[in-house]
């Protein structure tokens, strides 16, 4: 298509004309590939459970084993997100404000949970926290059983969500001007007061975003959890594993029903957190 030809294109209502070629082709391929790989398969997930009917669906997802698995997946993900919020704030603070040897290496290492395959993380955590493992043995001496309990699930989900809070906070923290902190100090605020009243409110929206990302990732996590969880029904069995078990029993509709509830509930929680984040950002 020539430049003149492109200019002569009538400007349709839904798009402004451009001098560049390839709009139809690139958007067409984008939509085709998106539909084939993502949208149509997801539609199958959403449609499938309804062959059970509404009452069948409700019965499926309120079965004690399903409810226990959902509670564990969402509960442990929430605990992991809270742990990551506290320690993520500390790690981000130390990485941005202080200098120490090997700082760049530590900074690069924060992304490890993104890069390390989940199955690898899973067997590593499991062997560390197993009763005869490096950490499992001392913990057991203290009377804490980590592996093969819900605590193990929390450990795995904390690992997997670790980078999110740090990476969301870092840019906000380094862009934060020190003027307000200085002003607070001049006006007689202690360091702790300056942090609580000045720095923390500025970080809060990013903190919520990071926690939401860590939570969303943890809810659906499978690979790093199943080795350390022990997978006891009603006790340490996560929802994604239950989907696989149902699939192995050829209960496609049941598996899809659990999947739909997982997606629906995480969507609602993320919507709430987004709303909270927007509210906090507006308050400032």
């Amino acid at each position: 298509m020539s430049f003149a030809g492109a200019l002569a294109l009538p400007s349709t209502a839904w798009r402004t004309r451009s001098a560049l070629p390839g709009f139809g082709l690139s958007l067409g391929f984008t939509l085709f590939y998106l539909s084939a790989v993502v949208l149509i398969p997801l539609a199958a997930l959403i449609i499938r459970p309804w062959e059970l009917g509404w009452s069948g669906f409700v019965e499926e997802v309120t079965a004690p084993r399903v409810l226990a698995a959902l509670k564990l997946s969402f509960g442990a993900a929430a605990v992991g997100a809270v742990l990551n919020t506290i320690f993520g704030l500390i790690v981000a603070w130390v990485l941005v404000r202080y200098s120490f040897p090997l700082k760049r290496l530590v900074d690069a290492l924060v992304d490890l949970p993104f890069a390390l395959p989940t199955a690898v993380a899973g067997i590593a955590l499991s062997s560390l926290y197993a009763p005869n493992g490096w950490l499992g043995r001392p913990l057991l001496a203290l009377g804490i059983k980590a592996a093969y309990t819900p605590l193990g699930v929390v450990i795995a989900l904390t690992f997997i969500g670790l980078p999110f809070v740090v990476r969301t906070l870092q840019p906000v923290l380094s862009d934060l001007s020190r003027d307000h902190e200085e002003a607070a100090a001049t006006l007689g605020a202690s360091r702790l007061q300056a942090f609580r009243r000045v720095v923390f409110p500025a970080l809060l929206p990013a903190l919520i975003t990071g926690a939401a990302l860590a939570f969303a990732r943890a809810v659906g996590e499978y690979g790093s959890v199943i080795f350390i969880a022990g997978n006891l029904p009603l006790r340490s069995e996560i929802a994604p594993l239950l989907i696989i078990i149902k699939l192995e029993e050829f209960d496609y509709a049941g598996a899809a029903a659990v999947g739909v509830v997982m997606l629906g509930v995480s969507f609602l929680i993320l919507l709430l957190l987004n709303g909270l984040q927007a509210f906090v950002a507006r308050q400032r």
Partner: protein, 292 residues
Amino acid sequence: MSNVTAPSLVLPHPRAATADHPLARVLLTIAGAFFIALFLLLPLIAIFAQALKDGVGAAVAAITEPDALSAIRMTLIAAVIAVPLNVMFGLTASWAISKFDFRGKSFLITLIDLPFSVSPVISGLVYVLLFGMMGWFGPWLRDHDIKIIFALPGIVLATMFVTFPFVARELIPLMSDQGRDEEEAATSLGASGWQTFRRVTLPNIKWGLLYGVLLCNARAMGEFGAVSVVSGHIRGQTNTMPLHIEVLYNDYQFVAAFAVASLLALLALVTLAVKTFLEWHYADEIAAVHKH
């Protein structure tokens, strides 16, 4: 601080009003280091320590055994198909989104990001619902003797789904930032669309593209949950490296499991190293979200 010696003589500079108390500094650094060591360093060390527990020979034997080699081959094949397809998609999608204005653009970007918020297990499940024995197209596929689930095509599809957004989400902000002036200049001078893309756009985005491919590939080779659902775990046939690790681990062959795992851990470390290198040296040529 005692009043006996003047603080200004002890400290080279008085502490700035925005500097933390030295004690707080030490405590926070220790807390951060403890968390990093416990959750990142220790698991990483454990992988290599367990792999080499019985010596290098045992680790090498575990990696070169036929089932392990077959798993390595399967992982490479899946990545070699899925990554280029997602690169092609990423390039076309970011061309359409960054070089043209149309309604519904931000909704389209949201849809492209969708696979990131879907559980890996669900990413595999959706293809079983379509192509599995009791899926929508299951009977038809069986009648025509086409195997997708429990075979390579299923593994490739699941890998494509989980790595779908990587390249696009890196390139869309980058190409939007770069605008369209250079491309418009090239076309007005008579370059064809393809020439413009190859000679103008591609050189501008090469580091961002490499960054996206790097992350896409790391995830493709390491994916476990999604592939686990569609693979069927047929040893020596449809097991990828992460699945082979699972089989070995559940078989109590810990040294072998960690030996194969250490290969994937090395891949992760190389990925992190290259990624960090790109962030340091080409910060302006990769998407702004990664700068810190």
